[in-house]
Amino acid sequence: MTKLDSRIPEGPIAEKWTRHKNSINVVNPANKRLIDVIVVGTGLAGGSASASLAEMGYNVKAFCFQDSPRRAHSIAAQGGINAAKNYQNDGDSTYRLFYDTVKGGDYRSREANVYRLAEVSANIIDQCVAQGVPFARDYGGLLDNRSFGGVLVSRTFYAKGQTGQQLLLGAYSAMSRQIGKGKIKMYNRHEMLDVVKVDGKARGIIARDLVTGAIERHSAHAVVICSGGYGNVFFLSTNAMGSNVTAAWKIHKKGAYFANPCYTQIHPTCIPRSGDHQSKLTLMSESLRNDGRIWVPKKIEDVKAIREGKLKPTQLKEEDRDYYLERRYPAFGNLVPRDVASRAAKERCDEGFGVNNTGEAVYLDFASSFMRYGKEKAMVEGIENASPEKIRELGEGVIEAKYGNLFQMYEKIVDENPYKTPMMIYPAVHYTMGGVWVDYNLMTTIPGCYCLGEANFSDHGANRLGASALMQGLADGYFVLPYTIGDQLAHDIRTGPISTDLPEFIEAEKSVKDGLSKLINNKGTHSVDYFHKRLGKVMWDKVGMARDEKGLKEAIAEIQQIRTEFWADVRIPGGLNEMNPELEKAGRVADFLELGELFAKDALERNESCGGHFREESKTEDGEALRNDKDFAYVAAWEYTGEPKDAVLHKEELEFKDIELKQRSYK
């Protein structure tokens, strides 16, 4: 059995990364040309890693299931990217960003990794500007910043509500340059279906060409997985339709430990579900909570009248509204962290106070901001004795300038004008902090196999702060992996090309083909979505925002049952040797059906509340989350042994030398 070695360098925290870079093996430029690296996924992590590795001289083969690397779901990130630049002169520093991230993660992340993330964050902004990323600027021509939840400084760089898009297109541009030079060979519309190990090392992958259906063998000296998060295990999430766990799960089944699968971020401000036809959920940026107040009616009869359309929310008097976040958390109010806001919304809706037909929606009301901003604007413009209507109109203009694109998106989807009636929101699965376990070099427990970005577990602990996902993806890909990968590859300068005719490749290809044949020849009665929706319902009801032992045990049994039925009764039309989107989905859902069980098992084992993970058994007298550092200050890394239920737990104990452990409080 492998012992978990996180390979954290010695020395003071601020010197670890520099010391590490100075002490690890380096591959000389001439030898880099002799080494091949496979990168799976082309989001911020995969795109930036591919580009950087190719620039350094390695031969890169990059894979994505989309029709172009530019479409990876990093593109949908709205708010921004954090960096400890201290351009606003508000006392920001590497240490402060490090501290905020560890605290925000509820003390369940690895200090050394987080410090390194904070340390390289400033370089990311320099790099992106040099690439032509058009960040927002002020009239002096310098970069602008905004503030985000859970922190006391303005360190978030942004490009309107499309920061993820701009950063991803920057990485895609850098990739394009290397593709043009032939240093990256790009495989669009290809899906990795297994990793190939030779003598214990990752030496290649088996991939399916999604256009022809051909199964291909690809070899390399190292394999880098950057395949994103697994939020779609819930069926409905803010992830893209194709986002999946398959690449990460396949390496898990070949020996990579999977860490903290139960850490999931449920984002409080998403557009509610409108009915059973819904295929995905849409996020509204967290920044809206700066100006919106969240409420539901106090009286259940008002809820009924609103649902029946007899009463409009704007008609409800102030004293009949329950601003429950302001009531429960007077100090932070509507700006409590994501996990707290989400659970509070669920609590109200479970009590029957949800304001739409599904019973799963609360109001996000901008009325008081319209008036507050309107008064200010009237003063600035010298309008005396402005009428309330005029003030509101002015205020709406201010809000439009800040969040216009979000308000427009809301109106397109819900068909209600959010300037005239309060928005409706509800929490939705958004991001997974858990993922493949990696050491300080970002290497998994399979030698030569690396994992970056959302797909790994490393930096966010049990809860991620806003605008930190983009930072981590680019840090891993631009500034960490390109150095750390040399430590392992230095042993491969004389290896020469890896043959794809080795028995390990033949065997892996056969098992992939057998699995696909089994699916296509099943000829059952139900579509893949039928099973995926059932899995999603179990996950949401019993492994969602609040979990208890009874529900988790039931969930494990139910997921096992759905998995059995899936393999007996799924129906996939079409053939193997053609473009077949249903076959692609089936493979992904088959993996979700295994991951879902491990997820529930991990949540059951972690009998404490921390970050996005809330156990009913572990709370304070007034119902707040209660962390248990004595028993659970560790990373739960699971080893695959055949079935999810038999997964073996390995603990990486977390040491906090530079930050004192404290219970979070937002009262």
């Binding site: 172009s68 790099q127 021509g141 490009a159 309107k160 541009s173 036809h277 295929s279 579509s527």
Partner: protein
């Protein structure tokens, strides 16, 4: 809502393809267009028929995957939205809806409504970047102030999602709006200015090589663009291209 869908079906690249008619019942006005397609596909699967293939991914209007030509318009009748954000409330009960793939020589059909847009990637590979390595030693991001107006214009051009609606809409299947958006974004910024001429030359050369048509200033691309990319970008690219052909040594 009950609707009749007339959908382009084509087994593969070589197949000739044809429109086929599908009645569909019980469509909710709150569904997105693609959720309506999901409904149809689930019915087809349960009946044992082949579902309709179409590209889609983020379903929030930003990835640029979805690409349907609906009732003769790229991304359908609504403005400034992609197909995934188009909702069924824009259609009437009993309506017949025609659904086709993008049509352009440079975008061959792969299957049904799915087309191959890798020509866009190849145009990008020819010059859609700033030649800078990730050394970790680039100069400070605030070392060169950039006028806010330029930064904002660059951003507006950079919001192109590469969906190909401009090409599908253009009677010449020209890619000028797409290419000019990238040329403009980088030409407007000091970091990209250095190689602006080379970029314009190389990207235009590749664009022509891929078989995209010429621009005749019809302006349909701007109307149908889900991100509102402006024709001004084409004018800016023409300037860059012209000055490059006059002054460039290569």
């Amino acid at each position: 809502m009950d609707l009749t869908l007339k959908i382009w079906r084509q087994k593969n690249k070589e197949d000739k393809g044809a429109m086929q008619s599908y009645p569909i019942k019980g469509v909710s006005p709150d569904m997105s267009f693609l959720e309506m397609m999901d409904l149809l596909n689930n019915e087809l699967i349960e009946k044992g028929d082949d579902p309709v293939a179409f590209d889609h991914d983020c379903r929030e209007g930003i990835c640029g995957s979805c690409s349907l030509y609906i009732n003769g318009e790229a991304h359908g009748p609504d403005r400034l939205v992609t197909t995934c954000q188009l909702h069924m409330r824009k259609f009437k009960d009993g309506e017949t809806i025609h659904i086709e793939p993008w049509r352009a020589n440079a975008f061959p059909v792969i299957k049904d409504l799915v087309v191959d847009r890798s020509s866009f990637d190849r145009v990008m590979n020819a010059g859609g970047f700033v030649s800078v390595n990730t050394s970790g030693n680039t100069q400070d991001a605030n070392a060169i102030p950039i006028a806010k107006d330029d930064a904002d214009k660059a951003f507006d051009a950079a919001t192109c999602i590469g969906c190909g609606a401009c090409v599908a809409t253009c009677k010449n299947a020209s890619a000028m709006l797409f290419v000019s958006a990238k040329v403009s974004q980088l030409a407007l910024l000091p970091q990209g200015k250095v190689e602006a001429q080379r970029r314009a030359l190389h990207m235009v050369e590749q664009m022509d090589h891929e078989g995209f048509g010429n621009c005749t200033n019809t302006g349909a691309c701007e109307v149908e663009c889900p991100k509102g990319i402006s024709l001004e970008n084409i004018a800016r690219m023409n300037r860059e291209y012209l000055s490059a052909t006059i002054t460039s040594e290569s």
